[in-house]
Amino acid sequence: MDYAELSDKELASLAAQGRQAAFGELLRRYQRPIFSLVFRMVRDRALAEDLSQEAFIRGFAAIGSYDPRYKFSSWFFKVANNHTIDHLRKRKLDTVSIHGSPHARTAREEEETRLVVEAGGESPDEYVEHKELGSQIEQAIGKLRPEYRTAVLLRHVEGYAYDEIAAIMELPLGTVKTYLHRARSELKEHLAHLAK
């Protein structure tokens, strides 16, 4: 059987029966788009690979719950996006201020709790990342809030329709429209200096 010629839905059905080759073909098809989305969301290559790997494992483990009435890619992007957003939310809770603890009562306490950021050279991985995400538009996308970023990437990189984005993000269609309009307005502002 030539798995490369099967549709996503057929592959998902075979994968649900435990066919390893079907899992392999689905992974081959979606590793790039899923990794791209996650990488642009977290902007860290190693972390993006770990999160993408976890997203695939989650998706494969839950493949029996996939409903073939819907588009497989939308379902899979939903799994990956939810996993990434969960990670970003968790990371937001773990972040520390470089300006010192907000609970510091004296200048001394604030000084003691301040995070010292040492200047250092760029590691090879960081160099690659900066090269990949260093363009003005990538940087502007990086400044968007995660929900806006997802919407923009799904629309303009993956080419999803508005209703498909709404299904992936589990949001009403109107909210997706608003997200995209606002996200692009913010991007336009961030990139306004290029137009001058």
Partner: protein
């Protein structure tokens, strides 16, 4: 004689010394103080111009005072009241229509909104609106410039490419997937003890975790392999001899352990006590029967307690799980 300089009413007299129109009206309305009133009267007597003005104002006052009060027709109030509910109901509708017309007029005059321009650039505007937007764009330089900026942004977004994960990504995902599938195969038997969940939690999920596990596993595996290699490199030692030797040693160990346990049990104080109890019971069948009944009752109670704790509790927990899904 009233002199303009002496005329100290609340408002000044005209620059030429005559009374102003306001002063004459105040005089006729009785709004002047006693002193001012006397001064004004005296001025009017001697000033022909102000006298004539005063007479003209008196004539107007007389005319106004002669106007009769006009009343509406008798059924006027009834007709007004009849229309009040209808007007109240119509008011919001009319307001809506006015607001809509005003908005239409305003949108035709104002610039296109960013949302409308984005939708236009994306090709999402309905056909009937396209002509309207294009008409506006042809006459509005600001909107044309704005639209060019949006087009630039859309082109920029269109240049974003998918990115490739690092080498070995495919193999890593498939390897982890296979390991988890293998573990799942054990699940039905192992799940009863929760062992599957515990083992599953131990499977590394990230590359760093895999690196740590590999780092920890490599030294013992290497040392063990070297030792085995050394042992089997001896020509006198074959796998068959080794198996025979091991089975002989294990058997010897087992028999030694069994005999020591047996000796310990037979010679222990508990064994002597048990023997004494059996001897006593065999001397009295009634007490032996009572003991057997008590033993059976205790065993049944113990079995019930075990059942209630192991199986009934699990069923209850599962119903909670089902309810919370």
């Amino acid at each position: 004689m009233l002199d303009n300089d002496d005329f100290s009413m609340g408002f000044p007299a005209e620059m030429n010394g005559h009374l102003t129109a306001e002063q004459i009206q105040a005089l006729l309305d009785g709004q002047l103080s006693d002193g001012d009133f006397a001064d004004a009267q005296e001025h009017v007597v001697f000033c022909s111009r102000c006298h004539a003005d005063l007479e003209a104002w008196q004539l107007l006052y007389a005319e106004l005072g002669g106007l009769s009060e006009l009343g509406p027709s008798p059924d006027f109030a009834a007709r007004v009241l009849e229309h009040i509910p209808a007007q109240e109901a119509a008011a919001p509708w009319r307001q809506k229509v006015r607001a809509w017309i005003a908005a239409r007029g305003r949108s035709a005059r104002d610039h296109l909104s960013p949302e409308r321009l984005q939708d236009y650039v994306e090709g999402l505007v309905p056909a009937r609106r396209v002509a309207q937007i294009e008409a506006h764009l042809s006459g509005c330089k600001a909107c044309r410039s704005d639209m060019a900026a949006w087009q630039g942004l859309f082109e920029g977004l269109g240049t974003l490419q998918s990115m490739e994960p690092g080498e070995g990504f495919y193999e890593r995902v498939m390897a982890q997937h296979r390991v988890l599938k293998l573990l799942e195969a054990w699940e039905p038997a192992a799940a009863r003890t929760g062992a599957f969940a515990r083992v599953k939690r131990l499977v590394p999920r990230t590359r760093k975790a895999w690196a740590v596990v590999a780092g920890l596993a490599v030294p013992p595996i290497t040392i063990g392999s070297v030792l085995l290699g050394e042992v089997f490199s001896n020509p006198a030692l074959t796998p068959g001899y080794l198996a025979y030797f091991l089975s002989w040693k294990v058997g010897e160990l087992g028999s030694a352990l069994g005999s020591s346990l047996m000796d310990g049990a037979v010679e222990s104080a508990a064994a002597f006590q048990a023997y004494a109890v059996v001897e006593f019971l065999s001397g009295s069948p009634l007490i032996a029967l009572a003991g057997a009944v008590a033993f059976a009752a205790l065993s049944a109670s113990a079995a019930w307690i075990l059942y209630a704790n192991l199986f009934q509790t699990r069923r209850t927990e599962q119903s909670y799980v089902r309810a919370s899904i």
